[in-house]
Symmetry: C3
Subunit: 274 residues, 3 copies
């Protein structure tokens, strides 16, 4: 099934509108191209509605948001909703500042999201104070391990229900859930945290998968998350074998997205329902 | 002749002021350095006039324009004109949004341009509604092939005449024309479209060539376009030989600009007058 | 001693708030990660005080400053001062435009700086008109060589005294000085000037060293500067051996920061008091 998800990306070449931070934007664009999609970056309020209209979906990443781009995120999100395009939110740094947390929450309130992807700290910051999740949340630490996996899955499903979409919590163990079903994904490598942009790249890649697989956003997200982890593993093996470091690793990660065949994804994905 | 053009870049080390998008700006800077030039990025309206004054020419790229950078583009363009510096416009995404199309047209109206470089869709978007080109334009598809080459060359020459500069339409076949003469360039490789920034990099590279070769902007543009394509071919051969992907290809492309000798450009350029 | 400085970075994993230009920001983030630190980029005036509060220090780089980011630099700098965090200023392009020179001077006036790092032209531009340094300055050319080294060291010490911090003047010979003591560092390779961002990366790396070594900012800066130069040498050897160019060199430079062991730094640093 994951192989079909990737084949759909390669065949449909989804156009992804990215409002994303300037730190990792080049890698984000190149990973979308590597996957078989095509990116368009645009973040001015005069430009975003036109651009999102010719794309298939929208990736909103709040990594370096500013006073000018926040309205653009809302405008583009609403236009995407009107057009029935999937919208993904990457709440980079939610919890670390008032501006990031409040902007992410405002986007959740005003835009229908197909998916939210972040690390456990960012995702938790989005629900603090929410009646639905307050109880569970208090017991979840900021690292997902086997010992708190069940609790985190319950939390993810509850949050997914409130947005009627998919929640992807990524880290050493990734969790992808909608209201009814959840998966743990055990691909990936620790060096992925030694480059900037692993998360940003995954969010844009996921958006490409969401666009190309409109009938199953849950498994589309599972496919993107496991593909990223699997390509990270392959790139790490090559990095170690060659005695290079994190900068070259970053290139190999994107290279592997470019090179990965659909059947390799199906064979290499470590996905379990939970 | 192309070899001399490149030698001039290497010897004169032209300083290129780039107002360019944040997606590909790092690659743009590194390719200018690789060519032998030096880039300065500056896009605030308080800063651009000073910066453009110490440079030899200006590359205006509208890839991620915003309300703050549009006035900077006009200001810098006019100052460059006053100083007699060549100005190149890269109309990224013209035709895809009202803001991009209208900004590109406004720059064409208000700034004397030495060169406009874009793909066929972007270039066509600049002349829609123009009496001069309307007739021809209707018959040009969005891919330049041998079957529509003659028509596209006629169109490029007419457009070049209206700006009294050089038009570079790049794609599988590149066309470089002024009002009187045109060349088709058949260097390049399809993987160049699988990285972000091939066009942006070429525009900045072309600006370096324009500065270093003030007496022949037409052949300076031909040299830059063929150099980019030739280095793309070399990088693609290495990418395939090593089994790597688009991210490493991007590095090899810039590496080859850094490494290419003038006589290699002369020998490898596939340029024909048409 | 330099080995301990690096070990402290690796062990303390300092969080570095970077307000830096969009040209080299990705490399800046990856080199901080390579060193063992962690970067957070944030430049909106609504966001910077929160972000700088959770970090250990601040890197202010004026490379592509604009009307929105100048107030953010001042706000973040003052908040960092209140918290006792070290603040580094990289006056990119000071002397090249009124906006850059005046912004850099304003930051120096309003923020207590632990370190200023720039090339000789940029550093000189900061003191033009200053009674303290005017005399010496007139005799310093824009390249530091053995013949003007003593004069430049005197100038650096005087400037360091006025900010009560460290001045790092980097180039073929690097000078690191506080009011009382100065060092010349002879690591590095000319190809470092053929990539964009060598200076920006060094500034962020230095900030990580300042945070992790609060008791000795002078030697922390010496360690960062010599590490950058040493890793540049290693990367250049590999670049030449493999016949690649400046883009791949850039990756190898960051890779070497990732790979360098503390004892290699101690052994390879070419540092002399002067």
């Amino acid at each position: 099934m994951l192989d079909t998800m990737l084949t759909n990306v390669r065949e449909k070449a989804p156009l992804v509108h990215c409002i994303t931070n300037y730190v990792t934007v080049n890698d984000v664009a190149n990973i979308v191209l590597a996957s078989g999609g095509a990116p368009i970056m645009s973040d001015d309020s005069m430009d975003v509605a036109d651009i999102t209209s010719i794309c298939g979906g929208l990736d909103i990443n709040i990594g370096t948001l500013n006073a000018n781009t926040v309205p653009s995120m809302l405008l583009a999100g609403k236009r995407s909703n009107d057009l029935g395009h999937p919208v993904l939110l990457d709440p980079v740094g939610a919890g670390a500042s008032w501006m990031r947390t409040s902007t992410a929450k405002r986007i959740i309130d005003e835009v229908d999201l197909a998916c939210i992807r972040g690390n456990i700290s960012e995702i938790k910051a989005l629900t603090i104070g929410s009646a639905t999740t307050k109880g569970v949340e208090a017991d979840i630490t900021d690292i997902v391990t086997d010992s708190n996996l069940a609790l985190t899955v319950t939390y993810a499903k509850e949050f997914a229900a409130t947005i009627d979409g998919v929640i992807a919590i990524t880290g050493a163990i990734d969790i992808v859930a909608d209201a009814h079903q959840a998966f743990a994904i055990r691909n990936g490598h620790p060096v992925m945290s030694k480059i900037t942009g692993s998360g940003c790249m995954l969010s844009a890649l996921t958006t490409a998968f969401l666009i190309a697989n409109p009938d199953n956003h849950l498994m589309a997200t599972v496919a993107a998350v496991s593909m990223m982890g699997l390509c990270g593993e392959k790139a790490a093996v090559k990095m170690v074998a060659e005695g290079v470091g994190n900068a070259t690793f970053r290139n190999y990660l994107i290279d592997n997205i470019f090179l990965l065949e659909a059947d390799e994804l199906e064979a290499g994905a470590k996905v379990e329902e939970c």
